[in-house]
């Protein structure tokens, strides 16, 4: 606590300010009855057994401070009313436990008042930020994203180069050469996806999938190197930082003069787009209501923000028989589906990806109902905890998800975990390797592209990962 000598005042003023600005914060601090309905709903609690990882107690870490200094009962009865005085030790406790919540909102599904621990965690992290406590894996990507356009700070020329590498791989594996465009003015659609898809294995195969699909459709779209990040780690920092990073999406769409925006597969990116983007920015009047140029379908449910999720876009294509798909190419896979927290509980995006999935694979098995859809479990590494240095916490938090996968792995021989989230793709591989070896992680559009029959394609003996399909089929039969 040497950094800010007045840290105590900063935190207290910070709390007061947020109480006035967010009803969610004030209400959720007041109305918890501590019935414990949420207690064993948190993946970190299930994985660690640490009582302070129960959502109710995680919130109490902050609530107790609020109670002592901001409520009548707390002022009168102090610790008898459950109040605590803020000390440096409590700041450390906050730092430990609020960076052990992935803002997945599973607890909020079970709370009869809808108390959302994510709201508390967001505020606690904002408060910690005020006194300079943050983790490197969040602030560095945020700084990179702001300055260079994406988390890893890939500069424009390098961004193009990386995609060129992916295009070479596509050509090797499919025999088709593709030439996407970058920063092109006048394109119909601006395509934005988390940069994880561009550089991290196995996300890159999903990125290849996008490009193959767009090539197949001859879609008039462009990538952007300025807004080359769909994800928004600003969301894990503060509401203000979220807005600062998010603003690039519309700014770039306006500059390029596109008609609408298509968004790639990502979890928190879509929570921000669905629940925050329309509010944070001025109305996107310069864009048109999204309309699929292939099927003519108008995406009414995006009429205000003018941005469409690619899984919805693809579902529409399949529904209208616009894709020539050969499911059997994915027959070496037995797939189960991981609903990402943010798209499930912050959007309700459940059936669209399943519809696509069922049309591109033959073998699909659901995990148990307590672990999917709105009750889905976090990968254990969301909200900026996806760095290698957090591996211990990640694997604990990843236990419930992995355990459900193990269930279908043992029962049906599932060997592939499908998802629509870049963080999932980046982290679930480690979780699977540890808990359920033999299960790969694949983005939805990797599976789509593997099944998609292209004009002028080669024999397609390899998948996008360059693996021999015949070998995989054989391996599977053994």
């Amino acid at each position: 606590m040497t950094g800010s000598p007045n840290w105590y005042e900063i935190i207290m003023t910070g709390i007061a300010e947020r109480l006035d600005k967010y009803r969610s914060f004030k209400l959720f601090l007041d109305i918890c009855v501590r019935w414990g309905a949420c207690a064993d709903k948190c993946h970190f609690y299930i994985g660690s057994g640490d009582p302070k990882n129960m959502p109710v107690l995680r919130a109490e870490l902050l609530r107790s401070i609020y109670r002592r200094d901001f409520t009548t009962a707390g002022k009168l009865f102090g610790k008898f009313a459950g109040g605590r005085k803020l000390t440096p030790l409590i700041i450390k406790e906050w730092f430990y436990y609020f960076y052990q919540c992935t803002e997945c909102r599973r607890c909020s599904v079970f709370c009869p008042y809808g108390i959302d621990t994510a709201e508390i965690t967001i505020m606690a992290r904002e408060l910690l930020n005020l006194i300079g406590c943050q983790i490197d894996w969040i602030i560095t990507p945020v700084a990179n994203c702001y300055q260079t356009g994406n988390h890893l700070g890939i500069q424009p020329h390098a961004f193009k180069e990386i995609l060129d590498f992916l295009l070479d791989d596509i050509e090797t594996n499919t025999g088709v050469k593709m030439e996407p465009t970058f920063n092109r003015k006048g394109a119909e659609i601006l395509f934005l996806t988390p940069s994880g898809d561009v550089f991290a294995d196995p996300g890159i195969y999903t990125a290849m999938g996008y490009m193959i699909l767009f090539h197949y459709l001859d879609l008039d779209y462009t990538w952007s190197t300025y807004a080359s990040e769909g994800g928004n780690f600003g969301f894990f920092t503060s509401h203000e930082m979220m807005k600062r990073l998010n603003s690039k999406m519309y700014a770039e769409a306006k500059r390029l003069g596109v008609k609408w925006i298509l968004g790639g597969e990502c979890g928190h990116m879509w929570r921000v787009i669905n629940q925050y983007m329309g509010t944070m920015n001025e109305p996107a009047d310069f864009l048109e209501v999204p309309k699929s140029p292939i099927t003519g379908t108008v995406f009414d449910n995006a009429s205000q923000i003018k941005m469409v999720h690619i899984a919805q876009f693809t579902a529409d294509l399949i529904k209208n028989n616009k894709l020539n798909l050969d499911k059997s190419r994915n027959d070496y896979l037995k797939v189960t589906w991981h609903d990402s927290c943010n798209t499930s509980r912050g959007m309700g995006f459940l059936e669209e990806p399943r519809y696509v999935l069922k049309n591109v694979v033959n073998n699909f098995y659901e995990m148990p109902p307590n672990t999917i859809r709105e009750q889905t479990f976090c990968c254990g590494s969301g909200s900026g905890l996806n760095a290698g240095e957090n591996m211990d916490i990640r694997l604990r938090g990843g236990l419930p998800r992995a355990n459900a996968v193990k269930h279908v792995h043992d029962k049906h021989g599932v060997n592939c975990l499908g998802c629509i989230c870049a963080i999932d793709r980046a982290v679930l591989t480690a979780s699977m390797d540890f808990w359920v070896p033999g299960v790969r992680v694949a983005g939805l559009h990797e599976l789509v592209a593997n099944a998609l029959v292209l004009e002028g394609e080669n024999e397609r003996t390899t998948n996008l990962r360059g693996e021999e399909i015949a070998d995989l089929m054989e391996e599977n039969e053994e």
């Binding site: 008898f80 709370c111 009869p112 690039k248 509010t279």
Partner: protein, 339 residues
């Protein structure tokens, strides 16, 4: 605070309240306990709850953040869950009704157990849901039945409630189902707090105290009705005096009644300043009372403010040379820059 001190403290507080009321009744302070305190309690309750709700309502809802628990509105050929993931106001109203009237979210309850392997085992548990529902509805029933003391003539609806509630017609006077249910549910909720380690760990005096208080209120009420039989006519006289603002204290009401009344007064005074105020708060919960229609209808944040952004122009200034070299389009050529 550990379990012993939390539990004992709340228990002792409950006992102390009973002693105070008893002492009051014995020392002829019936006027204070029978008239002044109820008025104070009601005033505090109404003012307190109104203040709390207004205070919450004063803070805006900057973002529309419903917790979606079902399929969103998408294509016409994908069935949307219009209640758990409402896209219209009607859907929100129905969702809130389910939440408030049936404790929908609590109904989802599961427990998880870690077995050897490691293997996680989930089981649906409805106990908390049942106890919560039983507790709240029996409380409501008892509350409603009490209108027979405050109304003359007694409305038919109150009679109906009484008849339904004493449906089984066991004991004399007939046992009210709600009395038994309330005591059973509160006892369960209390035992649960003590027995389940997770819940014990999170429990504060403020969690035990209302349970003890309600248990004491229930016990005194049951004693009055079934065992010690107080003078109901005089009590009604007192109650009618209170509601018609002509308070008078009839003679001969036993101290038990004053203990009961005092505890009720304490409960309703305590209400607005404690977690019990969740009753009002649930209606304001932004994760439940908003439609998931952000992408169609703009939600306005009243304190939205401009932020500093890194513009494309600044970005291009940083990377122009590299962009040109890589064949990426630029807005300004290098030669423009030098000018």
């Amino acid at each position: 605070m550990n379990i012993i001190s939390s539990f004992l403290l709340s228990f002792l507080a409950g006992i102390a309240l009973i002693v105070i009321a008893w002492a009051g009744a014995l020392t002829n302070l019936q006027g204070l306990f029978g008239v002044v305190l109820p008025y104070i309690a009601i005033t505090t309750f109404v003012a307190g709850v109104v203040y709390r709700v207004l205070n919450w309502a004063q803070s805006p809802v900057p973002f529309r953040i419903p917790t979606t628990c079902g399929q969103e509105k998408s294509f016409p050929w994908i069935k949307a869950n219009c209640i758990e993931n409402p896209s219209s106001t009607l859907g929100v109203v129905i969702r809130m009704a389910f939440e408030v009237l049936t404790f929908r979210s609590l109904f989802r309850g599961t427990t998880v157990e870690l077995r050897g392997g490691p293997k996680l085992d989930y089981r649906s548990t409805k106990w908390l849901w049942m106890a919560a529902l039983g507790f709240h509805y029996s409380f409501l029933m008892i509350f409603f039945r009490h209108f027979r003391f405050f109304t003359e003539p007694i409305p038919a609806l109150v009679h109906l409630a009484e008849n339904m509630d004493s449906f089984f017609e066991v004991t004399v006077p007939a046992l009210y189902i709600s009395d038994g249910l309330l005591m059973a549910c509160v006892t369960y909720l209390l035992i649960r707090r003590v027995i389940i380690p997770q819940v014990r760990y999170i429990s504060l005096p403020a969690d035990y105290f209302p349970l003890f208080l309600i248990l004491a209120i229930g016990t005194t009420g049951i004693l009055m009705r079934y065992i010690l039989k107080v003078d109901v006519v005089s009590i009604k006289e007192l109650a009618m005096g209170l509601v018609t603002f002509h308070p008078a204290v009839p003679k001969g009401i036993g101290s038990l009644f004053y203990i009961h009344l005092f505890l009720v007064c304490v409960l309703i005074i305590y209400f607005p300043f404690s977690k019990l105020v969740h009753l009002g708060g649930v209606f304001l919960s932004p994760t439940r009372n908003l439609a998931n229609n952000n992408r169609q209808v703009r939600h306005v944040n009243p304190w939205n403010y401009p932020v500093k952004v890194h513009t494309y122009a600044e970005y291009e200034d940083d990377f122009r040379e590299k962009m040109i070299e890589a064949g990426l389009p630029v807005e300004k050529e290098l030669s423009d820059e030098k000018e």
